[in-house]
Symmetry: C2
Subunit: 280 residues, 2 copies
Amino acid sequence: MTEHIHETAPTQYVEANGIRFAYRRFGKAGSVPIVFNQHFQGTLDHWDPAVTNGLARTREVILFNNAGVASSSGETPSTFQEMGANAIAFIRALGLSEVDILGFSIGGMISQEIAVQAPELVRKLILVGTGLRGADMSTSQSSSIFGRTYEPAEHLWLKVHFTPSEASQAAGLAFLERKLRRQDRDPLVGQQTIDAQLAAIGEYLAYREVDGYLDYLKTIRQPTLVVQGSNDVIIPTYNSFVLQQTLPNAQLILYPDSNHGSFYQYPELFVAEATLFLGS
Amino acid sequence: MTEHIHETAPTQYVEANGIRFAYRRFGKAGSVPIVFNQHFQGTLDHWDPAVTNGLARTREVILFNNAGVASSSGETPSTFQEMGANAIAFIRALGLSEVDILGFSIGGMISQEIAVQAPELVRKLILVGTGLRGADMSTSQSSSIFGRTYEPAEHLWLKVHFTPSEASQAAGLAFLERKLRRQDRDPLVGQQTIDAQLAAIGEYLAYREVDGYLDYLKTIRQPTLVVQGSNDVIIPTYNSFVLQQTLPNAQLILYPDSNHGSFYQYPELFVAEATLFLGS
């Protein structure tokens, strides 16, 4: 049997909820697998191989496209609750009864909904660069950053994931090089997915008007690692402080001079700290 | 040569600034040593051996009493700036030209003043359960906790360093057991030290009224690891978020269900994370 890595793991498919989910699975078998939940507009090919391969040294890594996203079939629903339900159906369709969950950005919001809906399925949670129901987005620059065009288009991610500092931009270019190494690539997401993800974000932020909108976090009792950059211009960093202060069992790590993609700026450090957290 | 550990390292003395500083030094020679700066009322014997011995596996650890504290001679000054100057004199008297600095609680404030006054001396900083000039202490329960008596007296530290949860209190009892293992012990601090430390705290908090009171943090360019418990009742946790957001190069770690002594509650995790930080 070949030991696959991020760059070589074949795209596989599994059916659940009437959706044909595309996924890739690689790493060290025999442990609790970790299921990655992707950010806005992201596909199987938007993860950093330094992170996925790094974690795959000690556990199985499962990347997947949620319903309607890129090479998965179906429609993307317009709430994170429904996306969470689809993720649960996908995980169960793989025959798994216990997983760790990593969620990045809106993937972190979906991860929280997975934990709320299927607590027995989730051993530990890693939430990177994310927010919460009713997150404070008042200082987010998301609309203006995603609303512009970039040449080459991939440089959007230098703006989203990295700070303007020389060190962070250099880390960004290294990330793009790693990310583009894989040859057979997932298609980009379609407009239906983008519109549905934006609708879901809008619905999630509206929780701020609801009394006790943070209460659901108290029901997420899994050990949780919350990770964010010092200066996240997509989801303001303060939200991770609120997550840590409200979740019953959360560790917070904020990295210096970093933006939305903090764990892509310090992949070795993140992998070491996440491995400590998952192993403890 | 005997390989000393926390429990066996002899108390040694060195003279500087007219003060005879008591210190203990142990661990793996040849690396940049780490100098520990102690909390309010603390002595050589208030550190957790699980932390000191843990870090000593990969580097030299130096514990010391600042001027006037316990077995060190002299008067305790009434500002953290003067305590920082004394610490610098102590470090230089050992013939050291580069050290890492760990500071806990008011020791973290002294550590910042060391970095401000002698930036060339400090390679990296670890600030645990601490604040900053002008810290927001509005929710601190410090006065009421230190103002009561405990039976046995050592149980003060269960209240200061640990949360009321069963898990945290159990970790607290384990900490006290470790802390009391060493036989030949430092004397307790005298009233002059307590009064001077309280005066220094008052002077430090008064910075809040000064315009630009956070500006000094921008001059501390050393890589810094900021660590605190989720619910610090001595120095409110939010101050560590402000430290991380203001220091130019700081990583923040907040531990779950933990109080002022978070690193004594999770000593293995702290040692692993601090070793990663110091080694990177």
